[in-house]
């Protein structure tokens, strides 16, 4: 193959990684507009030229949905941006979203060969660039939809898992209806991840493609309440169900004073601001209580989002308390760096011990304790151990708990045949995504208890194909059975 890339492999290694322009930290903490501004076409082409077009592209084995990375990079080098977007969409229907929120430094970019000596290729920012480019042309290609099979599938939840499953099933000719509990589709993409990281129009555009493929979305429809899984199967004429309801159950600390006013789960705090636009209060009717000193507990993406959203509500100080060190913090590197640049104050090896309230039951102080790292625990991370007598008290008026999630029991309570483990996480056959209830498949955070967008999408693709194959067998469809299992990551 003759490469369009004018650079020799040696020259490619000399080109530094392109830096995506960003809004200045001083300005951006006063708005909800996107922080990274995107690459220019020239920057994108230069960045893509750095790719060595490896014959055995290790980067691809780091991508849970198997995006053909060198192929789309080559198309960028050739200036075929729209074609590059289509290439990605062969296996990933949400490139503008994944390009923005994938933990690339743990996935594709981590395994990029160039990264062994220099900075890896900016796969995520290039993915974002081509998807944005296609959208900016005003003509986003709608994937072909297969001959109608006559099968009806209900998808529960419209997060990345549900959207991916709907896409794979619609593409194969099944009639798909999504049921979503909230009044907007997108799941965590909409209510959890803030607009300065993922603008609404990006999510809407990617969902619009699904609608144009004939997928129906019914909002305000919590399954288990409005209709049960059994009713969908027995009364509403659904042939199979895909469950992608996520892990929306916030964990609390059980520490004294936790129910004081001003103490939020990250879910509530972010929902009030991202979904209900409490930052626009009173023009939007939903309030949020953000005081002058905000404390966020945790150091995952959720904690970074809560802290950075808080900054934009103009308090005096925002603090993050985390019981381990920066090295163990689960957040994407970019989010952590952005939080530091924007002025969040970090307290590593520090955990809350109680919350102290005022006479009106509002939190006024948080007591914390210093920790040191002890022996590794089951997860392989060193366990934080409290240091006696190291208690300190900070004045705060808002506390956001970003401690992780359990699985919301709305579905499993109303459908007990769906087996869960003791934490409520739905158990599935890993090859097919099928649950213990026949004809019901599941993927995403509901089967992991909380992971990433792209992992949810990868699993959803597996489960959608498992569901598809099940339909072929059950309904005697004249279609080829498809391989489901993707290469393990």
């Amino acid at each position: 193959m003759t490469s369009a890339n004018p650079l020799t492999p040696k020259e490619r290694m000399q080109v530094p990684r392109q830096q995506m322009p960003e809004q200045d930290a001083q300005d951006r903490v006063r708005n909800f507009t996107e922080v990274p501004l995107g690459l220019t076409p020239d920057m994108a082409m230069l960045e893509a030229r750095r790719c060595l077009e490896c014959r055995k592209p290790t980067c691809m084995s780091g991508c849970p949905v198997g995006v053909d990375i060198p192929a789309f990079l080559t198309l960028i080098v050739e200036g075929k941006f729209v074609e590059a977007a289509w290439k990605i969409k062969e296996t990933n229907i949400l490139p503008a979203i994944c390009g923005r929120v994938c933990p690339q430094d743990e996935q594709c970019e981590k395994l990029c060969l160039v990264g062994k000596k220099k900075h890896p290729i900016g796969i995520g920012m290039l993915e974002r660039f081509v998807a944005d480019y296609e959208r900016s042309t005003g003509e986003v290609r709608i994937p072909n939809v297969g001959e109608p099979t006559g099968c009806k599938v209900a998808v529960v939840g419209s997060g990345p898992a549900g959207l991916t499953a709907a896409f794979e099933l619609a593409k194969r000719g099944h009639t798909v209806t999504i049921f979503e509990a909230l009044h907007r589709p997108g799941g965590v993409l909409f209510y959890g991840i803030p607009r300065f990281r993922l603008p609404a129009e990006v999510i809407e555009a990617e969902i619009d493609v699904l609608k144009q493929m004939g997928v129906e979305i019914i909002l305000n429809a919590p399954v288990g309440k409005v209709v049960t899984i059994d009713e969908l199967l027995n009364e509403e004429g659904c042939d199979a169900i895909f469950v992608g309801t996520g892990a929306g159950l916030p964990w609390f600390t059980n520490l004294p004073g936790e129910n004081l006013n001003g103490i939020y789960s990250a879910n509530e705090y972010l929902t009030r601001i991202n979904l209900m636009r409490a930052d626009q209060f009173p023009n939007n009717a939903t309030p949020v209580y953000c005081g002058q000193r905000v404390a966020v507990i945790g150091a995952g993406n959720t904690a970074m989002d809560a802290a950075r959203v808080s900054l934009r509500m103009s308090p005096e100080e925002v603090h993050i308390f985390y019981r381990r060190t920066r090295n163990e913090a689960p957040a994407r590197t970019e989010e952590l760096e952005h939080a530091i640049q924007e002025g969040v104050q970090f307290h590593w090896l520090t955990a809350p011990t109680r919350f102290i309230g005022d006479d009106n039951y509002f939190v006024k102080q948080i007591e914390v304790q210093k920790m040191e790292l002890g022996e590794p625990d089951a997860s392989g991370r060193r366990r934080p151990v409290p240091i006696p007598g190291s208690e300190e008290v900070y004045d705060v008026d808002t506390v956001v708990l970003a401690l992780g999630f359990g699985v919301n029991p709305l579905i499993t309570d109303s459908t007990p045949e769906i087996e869960t483990n003791k934490w409520g996480v739905v158990q599935v056959n890993k090859e097919t995504g099928e649950t213990s209830k026949e004809g019901v498949f599941a993927a995403g955070d509901v089967i992991t208890g909380g992971a990433t967008v792209i992992l949810a999408m990868g699993q959803a693709r597996t489960a959608a194909l498992g569901l598809h194959n099940w339909l072929i067998e059950r309904k005697g469809l004249d279609m080829p059975v498809e391989a489901t299992a993707l290469e393990a990551v």
Binding site: A181, L182, H183, L219, N220, A221, P222, K225, V226, V227, G248, L249, P250, F252, N254, E258, N259, N261, G262, Y264, S265, N267, E268, T271, R272, M276, R277, Q280, F281, P282, N283, N284, A285, T286, P287, Y289, N360, Y361, N408, P409, L410
Partner: protein, 281 residues
């Protein structure tokens, strides 16, 4: 969109609506509530179901205008529509299935207890209704209550109608004369607390419906957390009905005031807009 098909002013600042909501009507059970949003800038607020019609696909709500959203709602008329109505939410009320049921409603609670009263009546149980209000004008759903219940008592704080005093004044004598299997009390927190205090010693099962501040109503945010029997529960998901003898009412009252300052700001803001509109027209 959910069209308003009937609107009746039942008391000052209190409106009864019939609203199209077929998905809710199909599955509604006594004790359930909905979450509504008027329009895209609107807040999600919880409202109890007072009645529903499965075939015709409507629900009935009673709305007390206490703040920005409820006042806006009460200004809407037949033909207007709500953007979102989600439900039925919460768990259905579970009442011990024996002996007399006493339902007690204060404010919108008088409507909220009707579905349980109807169901108990249909099961052939003796049902006694008590409606409490500050004054005669504010007595709600008296006709409904009388048509369902074997006996109905009205109490007003100022004595302008029925028994003078609180709902407990009507309940207390009944505790002596009736074999009460269960009490359901829905209304302002002080009322639910007073009823629970009265029945605690006699160990009469007393169910209350907790009106915590909510967002999603499905167990996703934890904003509605209440303390019951020393444990944190989510009112929308584990409730809204709980054992009245176990509830930490002090905390509930304080948590309901979380947005007091903002609520005032929202109302002032809307008054300013009204003024501006008035000067334009």
């Amino acid at each position: 969109m959910h069209k308003i098909i009937e609107r009746t002013d039942v008391a000052p600042d209190t409106v009864m609506f019939r609203i199209e909501a077929p998905m809710v009507a199909r599955k509604a059970q006594p004790g359930h509530f909905v979450i509504i949003r008027i329009d895209d800038d609107g807040e999600r607020i919880p409202l109890s179901l007072a009645e529903w019609h499965r075939e015709d696909g409507w629900i009935r709500l009673i709305v007390q205008g206490v703040g920005y959203t409820t006042k806006r709602l009460n200004a809407m008329t037949v033909g207007d529509a709500l953007l979102d109505v989600v439900g039925p939410l919460g768990r259905r009320t579970e009442l011990p299935e024996n002996d007399t049921l006493v339902v007690i409603g204060g404010g919108y609670g008088a409507g909220a207890v009707l579905p349980n009263a109807r169901e108990a009546r249909a099961q052939g149980r003796r049902v006694i209704g008590i409606i409490g209000a500050r004054t005669k004008d504010l007595v709600l759903v008296e006709d409904d209550m009388r048509s369902i219940c074997d006996d109905t008592y009205i109490t007003t704080n100022d004595g302008s109608y029925g028994i003078k005093g609180f709902v407990t004044h009507a309940l207390e004598p009944l505790l002596e004369t009736e074999t009460i299997g269960a009490i359901l009390a829905v209304g302002p927190v002080p009322m639910m607390r007073a009823v629970s205090d009265l029945t605690r010693e006699k160990q009469i099962p007393t169910i209350v419906s907790l009106n915590a501040v909510m967002v999603d109503g499905t167990g996703m945010c934890g904003g509605c957390r209440v303390t019951v029997g020393g444990e944190t529960k989510f009112a929308c998901f584990h409730g809204p009905d709980f054992d009245g003898h176990q509830v930490n009412y002090d905390e509930l009252v304080l948590r309901q005031k979380m947005y007091a300052a903002q609520e005032k700001a929202a109302l002032d803001h809307s008054c300013k807009i009204d003024e501006q509109v008035a000067t334009l027209t």
